[in-house]
């Protein structure tokens, strides 16, 4: 039997978390090391995925499938393709770093913190590798609880409010997705006779137009809240500001990507026609997110809030790229997901380092840091430049590809004429605004005279902090200079996805929105349902 690498990678952190939870109190150093080693081991295992991945094939690889609840067509079905591979790696890469960053920041209930972080890692990995809608939903929901605890227990002063807001927003979206998953399941079963939650099987089916729109909306709202897209973004600043540094890193680095991943993995292939129909509205929201997020970032007095709002802006780019349905746009979107995870993760790490020393994050409290902590300032410079898309660093690659995709989309839409070009043009303005808020922030924090006496005694990066930041910097430069090892893995899958979406969209017959059709178009009689349960 082949080694079930995906299961190992996914559940190794869970195992570690359970072991740590059973530890007696007071063994804090041991707990920290164990959690770090477990998540590092998961990263090492996930490297096997990267090197074993066949970039030429668009299919799911490392597939594992075991019957779980056969009478309902539910199976334990895992696999990765070019779309999820990088996100899996991003997750396993950021998790040990986040744990390492919390070495000093988290001093109470260390054991519970480490266990929560590891449970969270399993949940996130599960979301990216699940190929069964039921399984996917389980991971999607289960992951909320550890994140909720991380914000609520180890967060800042308003942590409880932020934690509750985070979980209620996300739940409200995801429960509607549950209804949509069920509706899709019964509709598919009624029409084809195959009752299944299996994603590859479901994507082969073309959902009739009217139903498709409703299902798309239910999925899209869940993902839009997660991304978060304007106007569903208000939970994000609260959650980010209150979360401990490690939580912010994971939240920005991985959790937000679940929304964009969801669009790509579920909305586009399952509901292509509705996705195409909704594209103008999605673009509108993405553009508002890009520009509004950037503007709000500019005026933030708090460093962490600034970075949080910049996420709204950056993820607007990602969504824009995905919905252009061009190879450049989608590959760019995927790379930008990784980039945002690295750059914003690093920004949060740096802000956290500053906060640990000064216990404030207000920009006005700083100034002239370059003279006191040069290494810190240099790294902040590199990361800020990467975030604003300086050529040679990673952000540029992603944003460039997305904008190329957007222009290609506008060019294809020649019938619409010049207005279509407004989309990439307005999006480009977001890059300019990004330069404004990041550089202005940098100027106020690092340049000039030392304004606050308390800053004179700051110590520069410790060895542990270097160890956290250097790997991130390595990839920031690597992707910026030579993105081929990363983009190359995604292209085959992206091409296949686009072809699939287009052929399915062409095949779907237009229809009026009509909820009742879910039932009328082939609801199973009770006896047919019984036959569907034939497993007994």
């Amino acid at each position: 039997m082949k080694l079930p690498i995906l299961s190992l990678v996914t559940f190794l952190p869970l195992l570690g978390g359970v072991v740590i939870a059973l530890f007696p109190r007071g063994r804090e150093a041991l707990v920290r090391w164990l959690a770090f080693l477990v998540s590092t081991a998961a990263f090492a295992l996930s490297l096997l995925l990267y090197f074993g991945f066949d970039a030429g094939s668009p299919d799911y690889q490392f597939v594992e499938q075991v019957r779980w609840m056969p009478s309902f067509g539910i199976s334990y079905h895992l696999g990765v393709d070019g779309i999820s591979l990088l996100l899996v790696l991003l997750t396993t890469f950021l998790s040990p770093l986040a744990l390492l960053s919390s070495w000093r920041a988290v001093e109470v209930r260390v054991k519970e913190f480490a266990a929560s972080m590891l449970l969270l890692e399993t949940g996130m990995l599960g979301v990216f590798v699940s190929l069964d809608l039921f399984l996917f939903y389980i991971f999607w929901e289960a992951m909320l609880i550890p994140m909720y605890l991380i914000i609520g227990v180890w967060g800042g002063p308003a942590r409880i409010y932020a934690a509750i807001k985070f979980i209620l927003y996300t739940l409200a979206g995801s429960v509607l997705m549950l209804v949509a998953i069920l509706a899709l399941y019964f509709h598919h079963g009624g029409v084809t006779g195959i009752y299944t939650f299996d994603l590859p099987l479901l994507t082969r089916y073309v959902v009739p137009g009217g139903i498709q729109l409703w299902l798309f909306l239910a999925f899209a709202v869940a993902f839009a809240i997660k991304v978060p897209m304007f106007p569903f973004h208000t939970w994000l600043p609260d959650a980010h500001v209150e979360a401990p540094t490690a939580g912010s890193v994971i939240l920005a680095g991985v959790l937000l990507k679940m929304g964009t991943y969801g669009f790509l993995r579920f909305c586009l292939p399952l509901f292509p026609q509705a996705s195409l129909a909704a594209t103008p509205w999605i673009f509108l929201l993405a553009l508002i997110g890009i520009i509004y997020g950037a503007w709000v970032s500019m005026v933030q007095p708090d460093l962490k809030k600034l970075v949080a709002y910049s996420s709204v802006s950056h993820l607007g780019f990602v969504v824009l790229g995905l919905f252009t349905l061009t190879p450049q746009g989608i590959v760019g979107g995927l790379i930008q997901m990784v980039n945002h995870g690295l750059s914003t993760g690093a920004l949060f790490l740096l802000v956290g380092i500053l906060y640990e020393r000064r216990h404030t994050r207000l920009i006005a409290e700083f100034g002239g840091l370059w003279q006191v902590v040069p290494a810190f300032s240099a790294l902040l410079m590199i990361v800020a430049l990467s975030s604003l898309g300086l050529p040679g660093l990673n952000g540029f690659v992603g944003e460039f590809l997305i904008l190329v995709g957007a222009f290609a989309w506008a060019a294809n839409l020649s019938a619409a004429g010049p207005p279509a070009y407004l989309v990439p043009v307005l999006a480009t303005s977001g890059i300019i605004f990004a330069a404004v808020y990041l550089l202005w922030m940098y100027q106020r924090v690092c340049f000039g005279e030392i304004t606050a006496e308390a800053n004179r005694g700051l110590t520069d990066l410790t060895r542990r902090e270097w160890a956290v930041l250097l790997p991130v910097l390595l990839f920031i430069v690597w992707i910026g200079v030579y993105p081929r090892p990363f983009t190359g893995k995604t292209e085959a899958s992206v091409q296949a996805l686009i072809a699939q979406v287009q052929s399915k969209a062409a095949a779907a017959a237009p229809a009026q929105p009509d909820l009742q059709r879910i039932h009328a178009s082939g609801a199973p009689t009770p006896s047919a349902w019984g036959a569907g349960l034939g497993g007994r």
Partner: protein, 478 residues
């Protein structure tokens, strides 16, 4: 053994144990009654095993007034689990509250007998009998701590409103008898199959639903719930919330699905509205509660709303998922009340949210356990609450009640707020010098362990049990 007695076997075991405990209560020792709890528990466990052993058998007794089928057996299992968990939680709890008297165990067994009879009743008169046996025992149990004002209030309120509802119920039986000339469920079914929409019959059904509505505590017949749940001893609260609800649903499902199949369009519309009202009122009012027992009381109302969705959806999946949810709900709710009960310190009940501040620091294991039960009540995977809701809402979607499913899931999201608030208090507030409670007894820990096993077993591998539940409702749908 006489083959005619086999359909009565679960009843005989529970009833026999009750009689045995009555006799043992009269024997010494006078001052300690813990051994009666052990005997009662043994009887309930025996009934549970007997029910499992009888699975697949069918039979009738007392001229068809009592029926043995998989439906009755499935509910016997649910009821026996509820009774067993309650008994495990009771012994130590009674001693700490100076309430250790033999009557307690006798009454628990008698109400269990009523519940088991209710699941097996095939005649309206037997349903009524069972209902009264169960209810009267529970009225007394609710006021078992007779020195306490709240207990007296709970008992009185439960009794008065219960008697009122019983009046409706028996009036409904009378009208149905008038319309069909029989109280036997299958004869009523045969009479209604003729297809006449006799107003007398419909009014009779409506009155029956009022009676059932009271027992399962659906809106608008839920008014007694918070006060009774709050005032009753916590172990009794757990029993009222789980066992009596399961019994109520048992009779409700049997009457609606097998007897009044013809009027399904009528009662479906009615129950659709009741389900929406029940879950919405339950959840919205629960938000405003700061007393944990009252909060769980309103939450239990909301859960009745979810289960009614399964009744509305109908079919093997709908009704089967109700049974499945009853089992899930029994483990979860008995577990949640169990933690509350174990945390009570002497005469002081730890039921305010403030009592739970920083619980994770003082009682890490109990806090985690309660958190898991609350997550199951929210319906978070991979706990059983998720599987249960998944099937209920799935049944609704399958039958075309998309909006009902949408309302239900939005309700679940609202409910998350107040359940998680308890988690907030336990994990995110600091201890304010509260004393740690007594260490939970072995029996209490065993009860929690069983309930935890239940919510994970049913959460991770729900399919086999759901298949059993669907097989259980099959005789009703024939």
């Amino acid at each position: 053994m006489d083959a005619a007695l086999i359909p009565l076997l679960p009843l005989l075991v529970v009833g026999g144990t009750a009689l045995l405990v009555i006799v043992l209560d009269l024997l010494p020792p006078r001052d300690r009654k813990g051994h009666l709890g052990v005997v009662a528990l043994a009887g309930v466990v025996m009934a549970l095993l007997v029910s499992l052993g009888l699975w697949g058998r069918e039979g009738r007794a007392f001229r068809g007034m009592v029926v043995l089928d998989n439906f009755a057996l499935f509910l016997d299992v649910v009821i026996c689990y509820a009774a067993a968990l309650v008994l495990l939680l009771s012994t130590d709890y009674l001693r700490r509250n100076d309430g250790e008297r033999g009557e307690y165990y006798i009454l628990v067994l008698l109400s269990t007998l009523g519940m088991v009879l209710m699941a097996a009743a095939a005649d309206l008169i037997v349903i009524f009998l069972a209902l009264e046996l169960m209810s009267l025992s529970l009225y007394v149990l609710a006021g078992f701590f007779r020195g306490r004002l709240a207990a007296a209030e709970a008992s009185m309120k439960y009794f008065l409103l219960g008697a009122f509802a019983t009046g409706f119920f028996i009036y409904g039986i009378a009208l149905i008898y008038g319309a069909t000339g029989s109280t036997a469920l299958d004869r009523i079914a045969a009479a209604t199959r003729a297809g006449t929409r006799d107003p007398l019959l419909l009014v009779g059904l409506g009155l029956l639903l009022v009676g059932f509505g009271f027992k399962i505590s659906s809106v608008p017949f839920h008014m007694w719930v918070p006060d009774v749940y709050e005032g009753a001893p916590t172990s009794v609260t757990a029993f009222i919330a789980t066992g009596s609800k399961a019994a109520g649903f048992a009779a409700l499902l049997r009457v609606l699905l097998s007897t009044f199949k013809v009027s399904q369009p009528d009662w479906t519309v009615l129950l659709w509205v009741v389900a929406v009202l029940t879950m919405t009122v339950g959840n919205v009012v629960a938000i405003a509660q700061s007393n944990l027992k009252r909060m769980l009381a309103y939450s239990s109302v909301a859960h009745v709303g979810y289960m009614l969705i399964g009744v509305v959806a109908g079919g093997a999946l709908g009704a089967g998922s109700v049974l499945f949810y009853l089992l899930v709900y029994t483990f979860t709710t008995a577990g949640a009340f169990g933690v509350i009960l174990l945390l009570e310190r002497g005469r002081r009940e730890a039921v305010d949210l403030d009592d739970y501040a920083g619980l994770a620091g003082r009682h890490p294991v109990l806090a985690l356990t309660l958190a898991l039960f609350l997550l199951s009540l929210i319906g978070m995977p991979p706990t059983a609450g998720f599987a249960g809701k998944f099937y209920l809402f799935g049944a609704a979607v399958r039958s075309g009640y998309i909006w009902l499913a949408v309302i239900a899931v939005l309700n679940s999201a609202v409910a998350a707020y107040y359940y998680l608030r308890v988690v907030v208090y336990m994990y995110m507030r600091d201890t304010e010098g509260l004393p740690t409670g007594p260490a939970p007894s072995f029996a209490g820990r065993l009860a929690l362990a069983i309930a935890l096993w239940g919510i994970f077993q049913l959460g991770l591998l729900p399919a086999p049990v759901l298949d059993l539940a669907q097989a259980a409702v099959a005789p009703l749908l024939r």
